[in-house]
């Protein structure tokens, strides 16, 4: 099987989708001739022509707004927002329009569209290249929210998202583009070519939206997480020796509650981990659900390990980032 980085897997998903369906169009800032600042769309304009893959003006509102019009027409736009930190100018179009179109028109008009955006920190990008805004989308009825943690899922989830009849926010943890970074920033990262989840099937396949994956089975406690934090959790489990069950949520909305509750009922303990700031982060929803559905199984309070409630700093990146040491401590506490 071909070995791919996450970037290559995303590009392959776009290629496969564009090849199968003429309605798939791809655009965004620097996405056309150049192929995207992270190279996720490299080669697509050459292969599919300038009217199916093109550069857009620097207007996230315009990119998403025109994509909504295209989706309503019947195309399947898959647009790129250069960094998730730059999605806010398009927020109104996403929340008030894309998410509501099917409902308010009673299905006459729909919005099958994907908005891809690199998310998360760990690259010394400062406050405008590091944000994790997923919780700002999980509160919006009508959206789906996906965040893969590896090349295999990235490809399969992206194809599924493009084929989905509803708008999907597709968050790509940029720190994972080239390898499964586990938070040990002072150590080299294994490339995807040496990781099992870097072996990506050629051609068309999907990973269904709404299904979590158990990355590590365990009996002592459940770690609920997604994106980069999956590897931080693996490292913390390794380093603490705690037999954690690590669940990679993959899709945040709609959520795979069954997998979550089955695990917590088994382990009786739960830690929720994300890079986004704590207050009103997606971890709040996870904790609220877990205590509701597994109350009588819980042996300790659910802990949240997250970014702090500050903007993402530049110099203090590793103080901010919830790495394996911080997570390990929380896991130990929950085990007490």
């Amino acid at each position: 099987m071909p070995r791919m980085t996450m970037i290559e897997a995303i590009r392959d998903a776009l290629d496969v989708s564009m090849g199968r369906d003429e309605g798939v169009v791809v655009f965004g800032e620097d996405v056309g001739y150049f192929g995207g600042v992270f190279r996720c769309t490299a080669g697509l304009q050459q292969k599919y022509g300038r009217t199916r893959c093109f550069d857009a003006p620097i207007s996230e509102l315009g990119i998403v707004g025109t994509a909504i019009g295209m989706a309503a027409y019947g195309l399947k736009p898959c647009v790129e927002v250069q960094f998730a930190d730059y999605v806010y100018p398009a927020y109104d179009q996403i929340v008030s329009e894309a998410a509501r179109l099917r409902y308010r028109s009673n299905g006459q008009f729909t919005c099958p569209m994907v908005i891809r955006m690199p998310t998360g920190g760990g690259i010394f990008g400062g406050q405008t290249h590091s944000q994790s805004p997923e919780a700002l989308f999980t509160h919006v009825s009508g959206l789906k929210v996906v965040e893969p943690s590896n090349p295999v899922d990235a490809k399969g989830l992206l194809i599924a998202a493009i084929e989905d009849p509803d708008p999907v926010i597709f968050l790509e943890p940029k720190r994972l583009y080239n390898g499964p970074f586990d938070g040990h920033h002072d150590q080299p990262v294994t490339p995807w070519s040496k990781h099992a989840l870097g072996e990506v099937e050629a051609g068309h396949y999907t990973v269904p939206l709404g299904k979590a994956a158990v990355r590590r089975e365990g009996s002592a406690l459940t770690v609920l997480t997604y994106g980069t934090m999956v590897y931080v959790a693996e490292a913390a489990a390794r380093e603490t020796g705690i037999d954690a069950e690590i669940i990679d949520l993959r899709t945040l909305l709609p959520l795979d509650l069954d997998t979550i509750t089955a695990s917590v009922r088994k382990t009786g303990r739960c830690v929720v981990v994300h890079e986004a700031t704590l207050t009103s982060g997606f971890g709040a929803e996870l904790a609220a659900l877990v205590q509701q559905h597994c109350f009588y199984n819980l042996e300790a309070p659910i802990a949240r390990v997250t970014g702090w409630d500050t903007p993402y700093p530049h110099a203090q990146e590793w103080d901010y980032f919830p790495g394996p040491v911080r997570l390990g401590e929380a896991m130990r506490e929950v085990m007490e």
Partner: protein, 410 residues
């Protein structure tokens, strides 16, 4: 800077306020027939003057004059008159229905009927409008059943939108009428995207975006112009300048520009101003812009100069912010009356036939209303179900919504 006189903030105000005498002397109205009709493929730069004048066809005597005249037969004009009369009668009935508590909200078109009714007749089947809440004429002139409009307004059991939307936020794909958003401006750029899609697919259909004078200040307006200009999208971008945005006069949104149409010039987009109370002029300019789009010549911006005679909505009372008699002083007159007079002038119509038509139209509207009310009104009779509230958020209902629906006991 010690010797510098201090700065001060300029805040534009309308010439008159309640209690003052209405004054439109600052509105320069060119004579009907006086503005050129250039070929649709003319160089945009050469069209500059069209953004600062007003294209008019009907003169004070009720004659159709000048290069933009002569596109419609008497029968077509008669049909247009009836559409406008129908819209007006519809508005009056629904306005009353709202006052009677049969629904929560209504917005009327009084004075602006020509804009949407005449524009609609310039389109072909398959074209798509992205309307605001003040273009129901697109539906009336497009043959959408009035009773369905009323069902929507009443949020009753036959409401095509299942009670989910505020009254008048219609949607009909079949009639080329995109689902209205309550958020101003958002759809202007979506129209551009729809048009781009049509061009990507080498289709022949075109789109029309709609926006109010006040809403041109929104960001979507800018994005629409940027994308339409860059990709030469086959779209007609319509600004309905009815002088008011709720209580705010158009000078606030327009700022120092002479006109709203002028905004388009900074994008190299041909931009025209037209008498929005002149059915013939609206139709002629719409035809011209639609042809440009259809021939792949790119976008056109059109500003319709008109006046909002009624209140903004049923939640508003304009006597608090403008002179009561201002609408009478509006120099472009009433669109229904002007078309009526023209038809009489050319011998195709008479006062008697008009009165009779009025009565007939009222009957039709009342009949539709009776039919709709059989299905209920907002607070009485048949209504959409609680289940309908949970459906259609996604194509397939996800587990969490299914759980919530169960919890709601439906």
């Amino acid at each position: 800077m010690a010797d510098q006189p201090p700065l001060s903030l300029y805040v534009p105000e309308p010439a008159v306020r309640p209690g003052d005498t209405p004054d439109f002397s600052n509105v320069i109205i060119p004579k009907a027939g006086s503005v050129d009709r250039p070929p649709v493929d003319a160089d945009p730069e050469s069209l500059r003057d069209l953004a600062f004048s007003i294209i008019r066809v009907l003169n004070r005597k009720g004659e159709a004059v000048g290069p933009w005249a002569g596109l419609l037969t008497a029968d077509e004009l008669l049909e247009g008159l009836k559409h406008m009369m129908t819209l007006r009668a519809f508005d009056a009935r629904m306005q009353t229905a709202q006052r009677q508590g049969k629904t929560s909200f209504y917005m009327q078109h009084m004075g602006e009927e020509a804009v949407s009714c005449a524009f609609r007749k310039a389109l072909e089947p398959g074209d798509m409008n992205f309307p605001t809440y003040r273009q129901a004429g697109l539906l009336i002139a497009g043959g959408y059943p009035m009773v369905d409009m009323m069902n929507q307004i009443y949020s009753n059991e036959a409401d095509p939108l299942k009670g989910r939307q505020l009254p008048i936020m219609y949607s009909s794909k079949e009639h080329g009428f995109f689902s209205i958003s309550g958020n101003l401006g958002t759809q202007f750029v979506q129209a551009v995207g729809w048009a781009m899609a049509s061009a990507i697919k080498n289709d022949t259909r075109i789109a029309a975006g709609w926006i109010g004078d006040g809403s041109t200040a929104e960001s979507d307006f800018h994005a629409a112009l940027v994308f339409a200009s860059t990709y030469r999208a086959p779209v007609v971008l319509n600004i309905v300048n009815n002088q008011w945005a709720i209580s705010t006069f158009q000078g606030i949104a327009r700022g120092g520009a002479g006109t709203f149409a002028a905004r388009g010039l900074g994008f190299g987009i041909p931009s025209l101003r037209v008498d929005g109370n002149d059915y013939l002029a609206v139709h002629a300019v719409a035809k011209w812009a639609v042809e440009r789009a259809r021939r792949n010549l790119g976008p056109t911006l059109v500003e319709y100069v008109t006046y909002r005679v009624g209140a903004h909505s049923t939640s508003d009372d304009p006597s608090a912010y403008r002179p009561k008699a201002e609408s009478d002083a509006w120099p472009l007159g009433d669109p229904v009356l002007r078309l009526k007079n023209h038809l009489i002038k050319i011998g195709a119509w008479s006062d008697e036939r008009h009165t009779q038509a009025e009565a007939e139209i009222l009957d039709t509207v009342i009949a539709a209303q009776k039919e709709a009310e059989k299905h209920g009104t907002l607070h009485t009779g048949g209504k959409p179900s609680t289940r309908d509230m949970f459906e259609g958020v996604y194509e397939e209902m996800p587990p969490h919504l299914r759980r919530q629906r169960q919890q709601a006991g439906v």
